[in-house]
Amino acid sequence: MSDQGVTMPRAVLSGLRRHEWLGLAAVLVLGIVAMAATQPAFLSTYNIYIMLTAFSLSVLIALSQMVILAIGQLNLSVGGLGGLAAVIFAGAMDVLGLPVPLAILAGLAVGLLGGLINGIVTWRTGLNAFIVTLATLSIFKGVNIGLTEAQPFYGIAEPVKWFGNARLGALPALLLVSGPVVILTGVILARTMFGRHLLAVGGNQQAAALSGVGVGRIIVLAHVASGGLAAMAGMLAVARLQLGQPTIGDDWLIVSFAAPVIGGAVLAGGHVSVIGTCLGVAIITLINNALVLLRVDPFAVQLLLGFLILFAVGLGRVRSGR
C-alpha cells in the first residue's frame, strides 16, 4: 500500500518530466481559472472566440519561427515575408481581380519563394541566418512598400471577408486553417524522416552530415516551410482585418520568438515542441486578453506583459522539473 502511494506520485512526476509542456498547461489552466473567477465576461462565447481568433493567427507566426529554431537558426524576416504575402494576396484580388484560389496561390507562392531565397542564401553563403534574414526583412518590406506605397488594398473578396469573421459558437473559421497546420507540423516533426533530419541538423550539423543527412537540403526546406507558414498567417490577417494593410507583420517579431521559447524550444537548435509552442501562444493570448479585461493602465501594459511572460516561462520550467 505504502509502496503504491510512493510509486504513483513518482509516476506522475516522471510523466511531468517527460512532457515538459504539462507545466505550461498548468500555468494556462491557472490563468484561465483566475480570470474566470474574477472576470465573469472572460468565459463569454464572444471573448473565447476573440482569443481563439488571435490564437489562430499567432500560432502560425510562432510555428514559422519554430521550424527555423529547430535547425538552430533565427528568422527575423517572418513578419516581413508574411506582410508581403498579405499584400500580394490582397493586391491580387483588388488590383488584378484574381479569383480567391489564385490569390491564395499567389500569396503562398510569395511566402515559399521568400523562404527559398532565405534558405539558399543562408546555405550557399554560409552566412548566419540572423544576418541573411535581417537583410531580407528589409528587402521584403521594401517590396511591400514599393508595391503599396503604404496604402492598404481595400478590395478584398467577400468570401475572404466572410471567412475571416465566420464562427461556430466560440470557434472561429480561422481554426480550419491553423488547426490542421498545427497537427500536420506536429506529425511531420514527430513521425517523418524530414522532421527527424530537421532536429538532427539543429542538434549537431556536422554529426547530421556524417550520418548522411543532406544538411543543405534540410536548411533550405526549413526556410521554405517557414515562409509558407508566414504567408498563411499573413493571408489570415487579411481575412480577419478585411483589408490588405501594408503594416501587417510589423508586430510579429516578439510573439514569433516568445511562444516557441516559452514552449521549450532550444535556441541552439535540435529541440522544439509543437504542443509547447501552442501553449506558449495560448499563454501570450491569455495575458493580452487579461491586460485589457483588467483595465491595466496603458503605461504599465508593456512592463506587465514582459514580467508575466517571464513568470509563465519560469513557472512552466519549475513545474516540469527542469
Binding site: 492598404p152 494593410q245 485589457v292
Partner: protein
C-alpha cells in the same frame, strides 16, 4: 554624416549665400516612414509643383527608422533638393540633421509632427492634437446624448502626442457630468494588436461602453470594422483621419464622424513657406505662433469634424482649411524683402 552632407550640398550648389530665384526651389517632402496618413502629402507635393513656382517631391523612407530617414534626406540633398519638409523621425534626433542642413543653407520645416525646441527648423505646421482629441470627444459626447461611458483607443505611447490625446479626452469627459472614460487602450496603431485588443474589449466590456473615441489611424479602421461586424450602432464612435473604411462606416451609420486632420495642407503650405524662405523671406519673430510642449513656433494646420452629411466632400473640406491658412500666411508669418 556631415561629410556626406557637405559633398551633397556642394553638388547641389545649395551653399550659395545669395537668395536664389524662387523657381530654383526643390522641396523634398519626407515622412517618418510609410503610413497611409501621408498619402495626401504626395498629392500636395504634385499640386504645389503644378500651382506654385517650385518643385516638390514626396519621398518615403522604407521603414520608421531615424537612420533610414536621415539617409533618405542625405540622398535627396545629393540629388539637388535644397529645402526639406519633414515629419521628424525623432523629435530630438532629427534636429541634428536639420542643423547640418541649415549650415549649408538648406531650410527645413517640421510638418505633421514637431521638432523639440531649440530647433533649426523654421517652424512646425501640424495638427493641434490636443484640440483635435478634445473636440472629437465633445462631438462623441453629443452623439451619446450627453452622458455615458467612453473608451479611448489610441496610438503608440512612445509618441509624445499620445499623452496629449489621453489628457484631452479626459478633460473633455471631466467637463460633463455623467461622462466617464472607463478605459484607455493604447499601443494599438498596428493592425493585429488593434484587432485583438479592441475586440477583446468589446467582447468583455462592450456592454458597459456607450462611446468610442479613436485618436489614431489603425484603431479607427479596426474599431469601425468591428462595429460593422457586430452590427452595433448602439455604441457611438468618433474616429480620426480619412481611411476609406472609416468613411464607409460613417456613410453606413456605424461611426458618427471623424476628426479630419489636414495632411494635404501641411505639405502644400510647408513647400510654399520653404520657397518663401529660399526667396529671402524670414520668419517673423513676433508672428502669432502657438506654443506646444515641443515648440513655441507651432502653426495649427487645422482640424475639422466630418459626419455623414459632409463625408462625400471631405477633400473639399481639407482644401478649404488649407486655403484659409494660405490666405494671409505670408503677411502673418513671414518678413519678405520688397
Amino acid at each position: 554624416m556631415k561629410r556626406i552632407l557637405t559633398a551633397a550640398a556642394l553638388l547641389a550648389g545649395a551653399g550659395a549665400a545669395a537668395p536664389l530665384a524662387a523657381q530654383d526651389t526643390r522641396v523634398g517632402v519626407v515622412p517618418g516612414g510609410p503610413h497611409p496618413y501621408f498619402a495626401a502629402w504626395e498629392d500636395a507635393a504634385k499640386d504645389a509643383t503644378a500651382q506654385l513656382d517650385l518643385v516638390a517631391e514626396y519621398h518615403v523612407p522604407a521603414a520608421w527608422d531615424l537612420s533610414q530617414q536621415n539617409a533618405m534626406i542625405e540622398s535627396l540633398v545629393g540629388q539637388g533638393f535644397n529645402a526639406i519638409a519633414v515629419f521628424p523621425g525623432d523629435a530630438s534626433g532629427t534636429n541634428a540633421t536639420m542643423s547640418e542642413l541649415k549650415d549649408f543653407g538648406i531650410p527645413s520645416v517640421a510638418i505633421g509632427g514637431c521638432l523639440q525646441a531649440p530647433t533649426p527648423a523654421e517652424f512646425c505646421l501640424g495638427t493641434d492634437v490636443y484640440q483635435s482629441a478634445y473636440l472629437g470627444t465633445k462631438e462623441l459626447i453629443e452623439a451619446m446624448g450627453g452622458s455615458g461611458n467612453i473608451v479611448h483607443l489610441t496610438g503608440f505611447l512612445v509618441d509624445p502626442n499620445t499623452s496629449l490625446r489621453i489628457d484631452a479626452v479626459q478633460k473633455a469627459a471631466d467637463e460633463v457630468d455623467g461622462v466617464e472614460v472607463i478605459q484607455v487602450i493604447a499601443d494599438i496603431d498596428a493592425p493585429e494588436p488593434a484587432d485583438e485588443k479592441i475586440n477583446a474589449f468589446l467582447a468583455a466590456r462592450g456592454a458597459e461602453a456607450d462611446g468610442m473615441i479613436s485618436t489614431a489611424w489603425v484603431p479607427s479602421v479596426v474599431a469601425a470594422t468591428a462595429l460593422r461586424n457586430l452590427g452595433d450602432k448602439r455604441i457611438r464612435m468618433v474616429a480620426i483621419d480619412h481611411d476609406q473604411v472609416v468613411l464607409d462606416a460613417i456613410r453606413d451609420g456605424f461611426v458618427d464622424g471623424t476628426m479630419l486632420q489636414n495632411p494635404y495642407g501641411q505639405a502644400y503650405i510647408g513647400a510654399y513657406a520653404l520657397d518663401l524662405v529660399r526667396g529671402g523671406c524670414t520668419v517673423k519673430p513676433d508672428a502669432p505662433f502657438d506654443t506646444t510642449a515641443q515648440t513655441d513656433m507651432f502653426i495649427d494646420s487645422g482640424t475639422a469634424f466630418v459626419d455623414a452629411s459632409a463625408v462625400d466632400t471631405y477633400q473639399d473640406t481639407m482644401i478649404a482649411v488649407t486655403d484659409e491658412i494660405m490666405d494671409g500666411f505670408k503677411d502673418t508669418y513671414m518678413d519678405c524683402p520688397e
